[in-house]
């Protein structure tokens, strides 16, 4: 992950979006390290979201990826199963960041370890300030998420302890930079 400023459409979800909703179990027969299957995971990203709460689909029917770049979430994003297919499907779909009020720990770790998608925490709940489709701009370094439609800006928490791992590009790159494993 080398981008410092991420621009694109926002996709808004609620609290407790669990990994079954991010990538339902029937798609876990796909192996993320097989390129063709990595792409397929992207096409199924967030397809488990109930239609009633999310009539606007993250990946439009028939599409391979998503038009949305920044997911705006509530509390406990990524809870439930440890399946790494979850952050991978989001990254494979073209999304670049999840900005949520809080994250479940295994999902957060998997985002950091894989480098697939930035997991950043907002200072305050954001769901009321964004509509799906709003153009948004996330500056991870400056710690700001801006809604281009409304003009409002929101503070994002610094990455903290994992910053080094995220900036290195994931756990392996980080470990190599520290000499824990050889290049």
């Amino acid at each position: 992950m080398s981008e410092n400023v991420i621009r694109g459409k926002a996709f808004v979800v609620g609290d407790n979006i669990d990994t079954d909703q991010i990538i339902p179990a029937q798609y876990l027969n796909l192996v993320p390290t097989i390129p063709e299957e990595y792409r397929k995971l992207g096409s199924h990203a967030l397809c488990g979201l109930p239609v009633e709460s999310n009539p606007e689909r993250f990946v439009a029917p028939g599409q391979e990826g998503s038009v949305y770049r920044i997911i705006v979430g509530g509390r406990n994003f990524g809870c439930g199963s440890s399946r790494e297919h979850a952050p991978i499907s989001l990254g494979a779909s073209g999304a670049k960041a999840v900005v949520a009020e809080s994250f479940a720990r295994i999902f957060f770790r998997n985002c950091v370890a894989t480098g697939e998608i930035y997991p950043v925490e907002s200072e305050a709940p954001l769901a009321a300030h964004f509509k799906t489709g709003d153009e948004a701009e996330l500056d991870v370094e400056a710690g700001v998420l801006r809604n281009a439609r409304s003009g409002e800006s929101f503070k994002i928490k610094p990455l903290g302890d994992v910053k080094e791992v995220v900036e290195a590009g994931g756990i392996f790159a980080y470990a190599r930079s520290k000499g824990m494993i050889s290049s």
């Binding site: 192996v31 390290t33 952050p87």
Partner: protein, 432 residues
Amino acid sequence: MGMTITEMILAHASRRERVSPGDNIWVSADILMTHDVCGPGTIGVLRREFGADAKVWDAEKVVLIPDHYIYTADEKCHRNVDTLREFAKQQGIKYFYDPGTESYSGVCHVTLPEKGHTRPGEVLFGTDSHTCTHGAFGEFATGIGNTDAGFVMGTGKLLLKVPASMKFVIDGKLPKGVVAKDVILRIIGDLGVDGATYCAMEFAGTAIDAMDMDERMTICNMAIEAGAKNGIIAPDAKTIAYVKARTDKPFQCFHSDADASYLSFRHYRAEDLEPVVAMPFLPDNVSKVSALQGHKIDRVYIGSCTGGKVADFIQAASVLKGRKVKLDVFLVPATVEVDHALDTEKIDGRTLRQIFADAGCQQPAPPSCAACLGGPVDTYGRCNHGEVCVSTTNRNFPGRMGSADSATILASPLTAAASAVAGVLADPRQYL
């Protein structure tokens, strides 16, 4: 100041005198477990990062347990098991429980203790969120993703942040009809699904002491549903007896210091607890069964690492004995060993299998994770048509057991069995 049991284990595993919550440390793994869903991806990471000829750090510490998508026609699922087979052979993996052979076992989190891989004082990683189950054996056990697991596979180490510990003391004697599942659901209901995020949940008290290992596993199994990093119960004579019957490997027992520091302390009187359920669609949506009696349901499912162990089937049978069920009851023993117990465990001279057959349940299915997580569409017990299912499993998020319009009510095996007899959600205490 002293350390909690979790801190002691992590200090030991990182070769430090002491650790404190928030410390980022490199720990050595004693066991890494993976299964058919995450194994192939983990192997992919290992080879991508360490080379096509990469070797695991220790062929006796990587345990391969295919269990998720075993009984399906899906070709990719068969391929994924084949991937594990090839890997086991190439690496000389000592512990591989191969489907279709004598060595097949079933659900990973019941297999690990059965086969002697869970030992006090150790560090166990698994590519599955319910790896926290094994804290019941007085060890540090947590779920990790494929990339972290690929790292462990190649190096035997992982970077971890030491969690703060939350203490839960349950004292007294559980009333009739109230079992471990009710205890942990009550705790999750009180905390919320993110109430223990990043923390160690340490369980103690006379009611915990009185539980057998199966029941302690149920408690620790669901720590993840409150967001915890790990669940843990200090080892005692029961733990030691269980473990020594299954392995000769030496182990070390740790116990929290009297002056250890906890983030929070909650005390429960066992006598105050009642049968509860978690209604759709969150594991913390917990209510007393007595308040929801008569709620419409379509089927009952008894299985999984949470509710498919021997103790769970004995509980269910204690309610079903001499009674008939009014709706479809799906029984999935977690492992081959549990399946055998259906023929050796008896209540008043009838085996569990006979009791289930007499009651009109479906024949027990071959051991696997089956419909706990839905799975491929041809999975046994999968909810494909909007069913409301009372289940002894661990999660009830939207679509968890199959179709988007299905709903799962999490319950103890007693409540599940009582509901099968009543044909609606029912309080088990009237059947005991």
